[in-house]
């Protein structure tokens, strides 16, 4: 079959010493980043992009490194959930519910290895899902003209706020802020400078990497400074790992849960907007309904650890489907990965599969490799990663800040860009305080120019008739989904979010308030 020969070629590309080494390094770093409270997949990948870029890696190796970090962070998030009851990143929140009680019973090692296996199965199945689903979506996307693309971008913005934001006005504000930033610079079609106020620095536009690193990484540093949260979350006595293998009996009872959760998580990941957090939430809730006959969920049931982990890792794979096939990311981290491709001059979307099959299939092969590497890293070496939790933020956060500067300096070498990055850091801090989601801003700066070009092309083709945007049935369908996706969360999202929060343990969301109420 065509697909398998493509996959074979992909492995031929991915299996070189350099790429294997990058996958290993990426998985290792990713697991650490995921495990540390306060650093999640999106800011982890954000810090590393400029580095991968200024190291002069080609497209395929760069993507291999960064997706390994992405998958690794999804694995790593569970470690601090289980050991400390503090989610290492937002999707790992549900893992706290049964993971921490298991650790309290002295079963931390079993919980860690079981969730490692669940993560592996989830991510493995999702990667197969990606292989089967993405090409189908590409066939569909080849029917798109400029008007349909414009509608698709609108859909992405409308649904991205989705479940993760409580206030749709604020996610619309964020999206417009991002699009507005993208407009700054010389207009590509007419060559006139726009919104630059005569400042030569702005003629090239604002580099989205500057915005990403500032908004995601530096604002995190400011949050920690605000609370002067400098102590380590773990101390030596708290971490007792115990036996590192799950018993066969446990594994057997968990297998159906893992398989069901993988499918659910994958579907949640493919849908734009919610990504991995929704994947783990849905998986946990459904499993609780289905198999929790004795009310053991929440008291350290292994199935309650396996389900959300399989779910969130499957969602991580699922979120890559719309990103690769349509060029429209389904989650915050895939938005950041999209930034990588764009800065390497590769435009994701249906044509990527025809023009750069080496990138696509090399990446998919790399996902399989990363998965096996992660399984190997996470079962025997998990003790090593638990040590990482002892690094106090008063050392870690200055390091994160300085690495962010190094990355941006490596790309542009200009003090102006560095200062703009600090500016974005403050902006990110203020917006987080006001509960404005940051991901639409990033997506806006990334997609703004493409969105505008499609709009202008569509209207030029129709000789100035703006109605062309809603003429084809396909475009109308996309607009309807966009509108429903924007309006529905106003009613449903509040409910889901409230339930996610009330189910979550007393400790807070790593992404926005992690250090808030601890000494």
């Amino acid at each position: 079959m065509d697909m398998f020969s493509n996959l074979y070629d992909g492995f031929a590309i991915a299996i070189t010493w350099q790429n294997l080494l990058l996958a290993l390094v990426g998985c290792f770093l990713g697991t650490i980043i995921g495990a540390l409270p306060g650093l999640g997949p999106s800011n982890g990948v954000a810090i590393l992009i400029p580095l991968a870029f200024s190291l002069g890696l080609g497209p395929t190796p760069a993507m291999i490194l960064l997706t390994s970090v992405y998958y690794g962070a999804m694995y790593g998030g569970r470690i601090s959930s289980i050991l400390l009851n503090i989610p290492g990143d937002e999707p790992a929140m549900m893992t706290c519910l049964d993971g921490y009680p298991m650790a309290r019973k002295g079963l931390a090692g079993e919980a860690l290895s079981l969730s490692g296996i669940a993560s592996f199965v989830g991510a493995f199945l999702a990667t197969w899902g990606l292989i089967f689903l993405a090409p189908q979506l590409v066939q569909f996307a080849l029917l798109f003209g400029p008007a349909e693309y414009f509608a698709l971008f609108a859909l992405a913005f409308a649904t991205l706020g989705g479940v993760s934001s409580t206030n749709q006005a604020k996610s619309a504000f964020a999206a417009m802020l991002g699009l507005g930033l993208a407009m700054i610079g010389v207009d590509q079609q007419t060559g006139t400078p726009r919104l630059t106020f005569g400042d030569v620095h702005l003629y090239d536009g604002i580099d989205f990497l500057v915005a990403i690193v500032g908004l995601f990484a530096l604002s995190e540093v400011f949050i920690f400074l605000e609370h002067r949260h400098g102590k380590a979350d773990a101390d030596d006595t708290a971490v007792k790992v115990g036996r590192l293998t799950p018993s066969w009996a446990t594994l057997k009872t968990c297998t159906p849960s893992i398989l069901r959760s993988s499918c659910l998580g994958f579907l949640a990941g493919v849908l734009p907007g919610a990504g991995a957090s929704l994947g783990s939430f849905i998986s946990y809730t459904v499993e609780k309904r289905l198999v929790d006959r004795d009310g053991t969920f929440g008291t350290g049931d292994p199935r309650g650890v396996a389900a959300p982990e399989a779910g969130n890792n499957a969602a991580a794979g699922g979120a890559l489907v719309p990103m690769l096939a349509l060029g429209v990311p389904g989650s915050g981290t895939t938005a950041v990965l999209l930034a990588v491709l764009l800065s390497l001059n590769i435009t994701p979307g249906p044509l990527l599969f025809n023009h750069n099959p080496d990138v696509v299939w090399g990446l998919i092969a790399a996902l399989f490799i990363a998965n096996f590497v992660l399984l190997a890293l996470n079962i025997p070496l998990v003790g090593l990663f638990t040590r990482v939790l002892m690094v106090p933020p008063r050392i870690l956060m200055p390091f994160v800040a300085m690495v962010s500067f190094v990355g941006i300096y490596g790309i542009s070498g200009s003090a102006f860009d560095l200062q703009m990055m600090v500016g974005f850091g403050i902006l990110g801090w203020v917006l987080r305080k006001l509960d404005v989601p940051l991901v639409p801003i990033i997506l806006g700066t990334l997609l703004g120019n493409m969105m505008e070009n499609n709009l202008r092309r569509a209207i030029s083709i129709s000789n100035g008739d703006w109605w062309v945007l809603i003429q084809s049935p396909l475009a109308i369908g996309l607009w309807i989904v966009a509108i429903v996706g924007f309006v529905l969360p106003i009613f449903v999202g509040r409910l889901v979010k409230a339930r996610m929060r009330s189910r979550a343990p007393a400790s807070e969301w790593a992404a926005d308030e992690a250090p808030a109420d601890r000494p």
């Binding site: 580095l51 200024s54 190291l55 206030n167 006005a169 604020k170 619309a172 504000f173 417009m176 699009l179 507005g180 407009m183 207009d187 079609q189 007419t190 060559g191 006139t192 400078p193 726009r194 919104l195 106020f197 400011f222 920690f224 400074l225 605000e226 609370h227 002067r228 400098g230 933020p393 008063r394 050392i395 956060m397 200055p398 390091f399 800040a401 300085m402 690495v403 500067f405 190094v406 300096y409 490596g410 070498g413 003090a415 560095l418 200062q419 600090v422 850091g425 403050i426 801090w429 305080k433 006001l434 509960d435 969105m451 505008e452 709009l455 202008r456 209207i459 030029s460 000789n463 100035g464």
Partner: protein, 143 residues
């Protein structure tokens, strides 16, 4: 109250953005849509969403106390100065200073903060410059 101010600032921003977009000089080679239309659409949605934020504010966020705000402001000043003088001072020197400051403000005792700052600067220099070959600010001493 925070959201009311935020909404009001958003409306002002939208008006300013719309005004700035109108200042764009049209070239005679322009396409049908031109360079102004899309920014104007952005400005109007920006204004609309700001009005909604103004009209239906969320619960008040927890703002830090004044000393904490001063703390943040000081950190921003330090990072701005770092960016400004990085090229003159050289990477290792400037980074050690900035990292020391941040580590101190995050609660390290002064001596430990200095050790942490120097260690961070040197380790980044070794890993990224010596091992990986990334170009860093050179400064007067070459590092």
């Amino acid at each position: 109250m925070s959201d009311r101010i935020f909404g009001a600032v958003g409306v002002l921003l939208a008006v300013f953005y719309g005004w700035a977009a109108l200042q764009t000089e049209e070239s005679f080679l322009s396409d049908i849509v031109g360079p102004k239309a899309f920014p104007l659409i952005i400005a109007s949605i920006l204004g609309l969403s700001s009005l909604i934020i103004f009209a239906f504010p969320d619960a008040k966020p927890k703002w830090p106390s004044l000393p904490r705000l001063v703390e943040l402001f000081a950190a921003v000043v330090v990072l701005m100065l770092y960016a400004e003088f990085l090229d003159e001072a050289g990477f290792v020197f400037a980074t050690a200073l900035a990292a020391t400051y941040l580590s101190w403000r995050l609660g390290s005792p002064p001596v430990q903060a200095v050790i942490a700052g120097v260690a961070i600067a040197v380790s980044i220099y070794v890993v990224f410059h010596l091992v990986l070959g990334l170009s860093l600010a050179r400064g007067p001493f070459g590092f």
